[in-house]
Amino acid sequence: MKKLINRPDDVVREELEGIAAAHSDRVKVSLDPYYVMRKDAPVQGKVAVVSGGGSGHEPMHGGFVGLGMLDAACPGEVFTSPTPDQILAATKAVSGGAGVLHIVKNYTGDILNFEMAADLAKEDGIQVEAVVTNDDVAVQDSLYTAGRRGVGVTVLAEKICGAAAEAGRPLGEVAELCRKVNANGRSMGMALTSCTVPAAGKPTFELGEDEMEIGIGIHGEPGRERRKLATADEIVEVLASTIVDDLPFKSNDQVLAFVNGMGGTPLIELYVVYRALDRFLKGRGIAIERNLVGSYITSLEMAGTSITLLRLDDELVRLWDAPVNTPGLRWGA
């Protein structure tokens, strides 16, 4: 295992200390329990937006705390959901009296821990609504399974709901908006390499020099299928057609196209992927109105990419364009 770390057990704490040192202009970091919050929280009268999940997905979620996005983020250990006490403490710390939205990715652990925290927060008189993101089309969706994973759409939901909360919209509306973003977004990812969980010390899976995993999540878990390595254009064809056919996205739809790097893939390759996606969508008559290209929801140092498409309407475009000032995403401020 080759990583820029000290001891595997200290990675998350030291990362948080790094964030605290680097971004004290915008965030405050609690080390016991772990959470990152807006420096100016609680913002009185504003709905607070809280998310969280395992670490190893940076900049998500801690890097998305700030004006126009999250009020707080709760990082768990690497790839491990945070615990209820963390989430409760963060929820209390940022609650400004107008209620708190929990944006939860659909993983058993995240669901259970956020549920427990929400129950405890409600006992403390804080109004909490939880919305679960589950946009990963690589996973079969069914009542009799855990359903789809929450992946790329989470980033977009955090931005858009953060903007709505900043604009003073009430909890019910912000939660409804979050459900709308989730309902209109779909994602799928692939990996060229595995990643190594620091505490495990070796790659989660092994891939041959000519193999790739299609349909991976963001926790180093193997994907749905192992295939022969293919070109960027072929990979995009597989990911994008699965995504487009699922919702389905239709001709004349306007979308936000999000090409995400898994952590170990450089930007030069993401632009090659974006080019292919742009061509693919043009071929389907789908118009890219907004885009995001970069490594925003990662899986440690995994090499690979994921594509997320979000169907846009005027409201979503306006909220996407609204100012955001976080370490990981910033414009208009």
Partner: protein, 212 residues
Amino acid sequence: MGAGYPECVSFVQGFAEAVAVNREYLTQLDAEIGDADHGINMDRGMRAVIPKVEALTDQDISGLFRTVAMALISTVGGASGPLYGTVFLQLSSSLKGKSEIELSDWAEAVLAAVTAVQARGKAEPGDKTMVDALLPAAQALREAADEGLALAEGLARATAAAHQGMEATIPLLARRGRASYLGERSQGHQDPGATSSWLLMQTAEAAFAKGN
């Protein structure tokens, strides 16, 4: 003769040791169909449990298990944190007021724990989760108690049933938890949570059956 407070403490310590010894093994099982952290998670949790348990003074079984539950919930995270937290929370409430655990008490408590885990996690038997080890163990305990067997024997049957349930997860297609994302690729692998649950039953047997 049932299991008293000291046996319960050695059950908890035994589980911590078993988890520590099997940290890599559980993590490796999770690497195959999950995210390679189950052993790490459980070990982090049980290491946090031990000093809390050692600090206890009032020899209360229910309080002991509640302490274990709270420590797990606040340090493990993931799916196993709330679920094992639920197991111990339920053991705590089922055993409230008891200073000795007889086979029928333990059978009832473990059955209630599985029921609580299912209520939280919505897993049915056969979904390839810890339920597949815990439920057969609870049923074996129930039957052993109904048959009037000795505690030691009942515990041995529970361990055997958990072991069988654990092994029976191998061919299953996961329908809950992270392994479910793999669809058919989850088949052919043993569930990590079922494995740690078998360890739980095994350490209960080792601790409670001493001299029984």
